[in-house]
């Protein structure tokens, strides 16, 4: 076939040399459990992490960090550090005061929000332990660390502000001049007073969403360089595109003179959705010194200064009728902002505002969130961002409602959830859930779990007074992800849109390069996007490569967070493929001497409808490259771009069931069985989905049982190492039983829903519900997270939990 192409010399060589791939029409890639093509490179370390980057003449930066939670800086003297061997320069915040600007917050959730200045290096005042106050630049990392000890700083202590409730009281010491209240954000729908008036049942609880420290495998690292005119910043970031725009704004470096690269990135969980002090300062240092500079955090430095997650106090009450039908829900939230508002800090609890109603129908909903400043590390996005907190609250309350009415927790949920024939359904919080089938997921989970048998065992252990009690926890969750429709983000005062961009390049040999605006940091986009392209263009999976993370290659993008990559970015890839095919159809028509209207793409070839003869997409790509004989007015390129902006969020859901054995003598807990049935719509790669679910479950269970950032009474972080900040490893977790139901999303052409955060969101309440369920005979109706053995034991003793 190929010899018929008027190809020119180079193209003829390509055609004759076997380089031109055959189409792959018979394989269905989407839905296949393909092994991740990026993994060999990632797990053998044969890739570039930011810390691996070595540049000629590179200098190393170390930061001196505040040992005080709150203090005025009265004197800084960096001069002694300069006498240390290998020290090139040393600066304090004052040396950059005119230049460093303020770290950005792009989510002013209310018009009167208090948004204090946030200097990357503190100038006059420090407001949390770990805040950068000075830096040294040395010829190696070790010398830089040693010289930090020579910097002299005098602090005049100011009172630490640690407790949100205290912080809001009249006369509390202030974190910022403008006070400790950053904002009050409200939402109300329906007649909440009517819902609570004479309600037969009211369940009221206060839940503490403890502060968490996101722990990515790869610590943060930044390399900045300049050639005197333009700048390149490598960073272990989730958001190279957002970073470029924001850094241009903060530093004044014109956007087109700044290239940001996220090389391979080892995890983020939201912690690398940030514009950090270190990124700004490294750029400024490269500019001032004219030399490439590098900074890599240590794990303890990271625990102090990676933005933290959660930290909310949830006062929540639910009114129901005597049969357990929910009438109304009242949520009053205090959200700890920490000392400053970072990139999307105020928006995190607000993302939860639309999720407190969960999968349930109700008549009225009232939500208030107060953002509070404290002298702690700022909080911001952490896997789930606002939705885990909301889901925890409502799923815990549903179990409490069931207990109040002596109903089975599954039954209470059945009485309240949206039935599958009611979709699309507009919730009390104003979201339109496009699709879902809570009955199917729940039935499947109950069967896998052996629910009735475990309930019987529970009853038996209770009867026998077994010191090891069994508890069963339920979580029938949904969440909103796939951030997000730009229009909705606009209505929530978010600083940018939520579209995503993709380019598809057809190379002369028929190979395909995909450029995505998403920025994978462990999710497997290279594999999943290749599967989508393979099916869309009928090319072999291995013929697709995916480029990302470098603003010089991928100029447009909104990056990766909020389980958005597939549902927004993956759809953009599909749409770009559609454009490639449309362009190819015209060239194929010309090659086949037919009208474009008569050409269809089937079985890997463009064919005249009703005939067998055709041209493969690879042949068309080669013809476009040669361009010797193209139809009049057609550009010699199949390359195409698409930018997709969804109309709606994505609403994955599922039913998770957890059986926990609680040793009432020691307070020890052991997860005996965990069943997760998730509905994430159509699945591109079930292995990747399972991986996301497993990791998500581990993180959600970790919040329930292990993780907690602890500050002492002076505002020192006590959990700076992994010996103190407990993370589970595989041996601390059960074998998960996972399965799926598949209710396609109707809001995107792939029918997919986000899966990146679902496991984390669902699992925390499932575990805590199980622990509380085990201890109900002891009069326990809550245990504060993390449910450490000591807390569980004290709950059993009837003390405070």
């Amino acid at each position: 076939m190929t010899e018929e192409i008027d190809a020119g010399f180079v193209a003829r060589q390509i055609a004759e040399s076997d380089m031109l791939s055959e189409p792959a029409p018979d394989r269905h890639e989407v839905g296949a459990a393909r092994r991740r093509k990026e993994d060999a490179r990632l797990i053998t370390g044969r890739t570039q992490w930011t810390d691996n980057i070595q540049l000629p003449g590179m200098l190393y930066v170390a930061f001196l960090r505040s040992p005080m939670a709150h203090a005025r800086i009265t004197r800084v003297d960096t001069s002694a550090a300069l006498h240390h061997p290998g020290i090139v320069a040393a600066f304090s915040g004052r040396d950059f005061a005119g230049e460093q600007g303020s770290l950005p917050c792009v989510w002013p959730v209310t018009e009167d929000i208090v948004m204090p200045d946030h200097p990357p290096m503190a100038v006059d005042e420090v407001r949390y332990v770990g805040e950068a106050v000075a830096c040294v630049i040395a010829t190696d990392r070790y010398k830089a660390s040693d010289a930090l000890e020579a910097i002299e700083i005098d602090y005049e202590p100011l009172p630490a502000v640690l407790d949100m409730t205290e912080a809001l009281k009249e006369g509390s010491p202030k974190v910022h001049e403008a006070g400790n209240r950053s904002f009050v954000w409200k939402f109300a729908q329906g007649d909440i007073d009517a819902a609570f008036r004479d309600a037969p049942v009211v369940v009221e609880r206060t839940f503490v969403q403890q502060r968490l420290i996101p722990t990515a495998m790869e610590p943060r690292a930044v390399v900045a360089q300049t050639d005197g005119d333009s700048f390149t910043l490598h960073s272990s970031t989730q958001v190279p595109h957002i970073l470029r725009i924001m850094l241009a704004q903060v530093t004044g470096i014109p956007e087109h003179k700044l290239r940001v690269v996220a090389p391979d990135v080892g995890g983020g969980f939201g912690s690398k959705l940030q514009v950090t002090a270190e990124e700004v300062l490294l750029l400024l240092l490269a500019r001032r010194l004219g030399k490439p500079v590098k900074w890599t955090e240590s794990r303890s430095e990271g625990n102090l200064t990676v933005h933290h997650g959660r930290d909310q106090l949830q006062r929540i009450s639910l009114a129901a009728d005597a049969e357990g039908h929910i009438r109304g829900l009242r949520v009053d939230l205090l959200a700890d902002m920490g000392a400053y508002l970072m990139l999307v800090t105020p928006g995190i609890p607000i993302l939860g505002a639309f999720m407190y109603n969960g999968i349930y129908k109700m008549d009225a909903y009232d939500f208030t969130c107060t953002g509070v400043f404290t002298t702690k590390m700022p909080t911001d996005a952490y896997r789930g961002a606002g939705r885990p907190e909301a889901t925890f609250a409502i799923e815990r309350l549903m179990d409490e409602l069931a207990a109040e009415l002596s109903l089975d927790p599954i039954e209470v949920r059945r009485r309240n959830w949206i039935a599958h024939e009611e979709f699309p359904y507009t919730t009390i919080a104003g979201m339109t859930y496009d699709s879902g089938n809570y009955e199917a997921a729940t039935d499947k989970a109950l069967a896998l779990f052996g629910y009735d048998k475990l309930r019987a065992e529970q009853a038996d252990r209770r009867d026998r007074g077994d010191p090891v009690q069994l508890g069963i926890g339920v979580s029938t969750f949904t969440e909103m992800c796939g951030l997000a429709p730009s229009r909705v983000l606009g209505s929530l005062s978010y600083g940018a849109g939520g579209w995503e961009h993709a380019s598809v390049r057809m190379l002369p040999t028929g190979k395909v390069e995909v450029i995505t605006g998403t920025s994978p940091h462990g999710q497997g986009h290279e594999t999943a996007w290749s599967q989508i392209v393979a099916d869309a263009l009928s090319v072999p999976f291995d013929d697709v490569s995916v480029l990302h993370g470098d603003t010089a290659i991928s100029h447009k993008g909104m990056d990766t967070y909020g389980s958005r990559s597939l549902v927004v970015g993956g759809v953009a890839v599909l749409q770009a493929c559609d454009k490639v095919k449309e362009k190819a159809r015209h060239i194929a028509a010309h090659m086949l001497e037919a009208s474009a209207d008569d050409i269809e793409f089937a079985g890997g070839s463009f064919k005249v409808r009703g005939t067998e003869s055709g041209r493969t997409i690879q042949e068309v790509a080669l013809a476009a490259f040669a361009a010797h004989d193209l139809p009049q007015g057609v550009e010699p390129s199949l390359d195409s771009d698409a930018t997709f902006d969804p109309d709606n969020f994505s609403f994955p859901h599922g039913t998770h069931l957890c059986a926990v054995e609680v040793d009432t003598e020691t307070g020890g807990t052991k997860i005996r069985l965990y069943v997760a049935v998730d509905d994430v719509g159509k699945v591109v790669n079930p292995m990747i989905v399972e991986g996301q679910v497993h990791g998500g479950l581990a993180q959600g269970i970790a919040q329930a049982l292990f993780e907690e950032a602890v500050y002492d009474a002076e505002g020192n972080l006590l959990t700076t190492t992994m010996a103190d900040y407990l993370l589970p490893s595989a041996s601390d977790l059960p074998d998960f039983v996972t399965d799926r139901t598949e209710t396609p999303a109707t809001s995107n052409p792939l029918g997919v829903k986000g899966v990146g955060e679902a496991g984390t969101i669902a699992s925390t309440p499932a575990v805590v519900n199980a622990i509380v369920d085990a201890l109900r005979p002891y009069g326990v109706n809550d245990v504060t997270m993390p449910c450490s053995p000591e807390r569980v034991w004290r709950a059993v003793q009837g003390g405070t939990s």
């Binding site: 040693d146 240590s298 020691t666 307070g667 190492t721 010996a723 103190d724 407990l726 490893s729 000591e790």
Partner: protein
Amino acid sequence: MIPASFDYVRPASLGEAVQVLTDAGEDAKVLSGGQSLLPLLRLRLAYPSVLVDVGRLEELRGIRDEDHHVYIGATTTHDEVVRSPVVNAECPLVALATATVADPAVRHRGTLGGSLAHADPAGDLPAVAVALDMEFVIHSTSGERVVAARDFFLDYLETALELGDVLAGIRVPKLGEGWGFHYEKFHRTAQAWAIVGVAAAVRLSGQASGEGRRIEEARIGLTNMGPTPVRATQVESAVRGAGLNGGDAVREAAQNAAEDTSPPTDLHAAPDYRRHLARVLTHRALLSAAAAV
């Protein structure tokens, strides 16, 4: 997480090691597996100016069956201990406790001598040392001396080792026939240190009577119940003669486990909870050890 600068010396013999240490004085530290010392250096909680690495000295390594005791060289790794047929046959409690230390990576580097010399009361092996009355063979420029476990642990991270001393090895007495062993470790994650741990060795009466067999003799060491490992002597005497079937004699004896302890407060537990755990876990450890006879 970056240590201050230090010198590194790797002596060729034990004799050279003690000489180097004596010459260097206060500022020198012995380095074995580095699993406790390096974290201290990285957190800049210790600033030795010279590290004397004894980790590769063959004369400090290895496990020997020596009549009345098992001799374990100080730099024998945790992993070697766990896999040793001699240890498992003659003093299995050491292997049982060592198997709970951290994770495989740490067990491949960390050493028995390092663990004991470090004397962290939260470590699993000091409690075993006092329970079994191990003996510490110590070298210095003035020769060899032997210190009993009860005299070795002086305070939190403080031992009878003096400037210029190297711990050469540990003698673990063989207890003879009829003993069962158990190490009961209570911790939050697999890699975490013990909140409380109980090392128990139990010898039973030869004959089962009406109440089944009885505990004739018990040795109990407690992990993390004070600044040093604790020998639970009150339980040991109270449990003598306790029947295993019927009655709560063992449980009652275990109620004494928190006597004479001063458990610490940390992020994971307050003292009253630790005392409670000591009682519960001692009961369990005794029963498990009895079941293992």
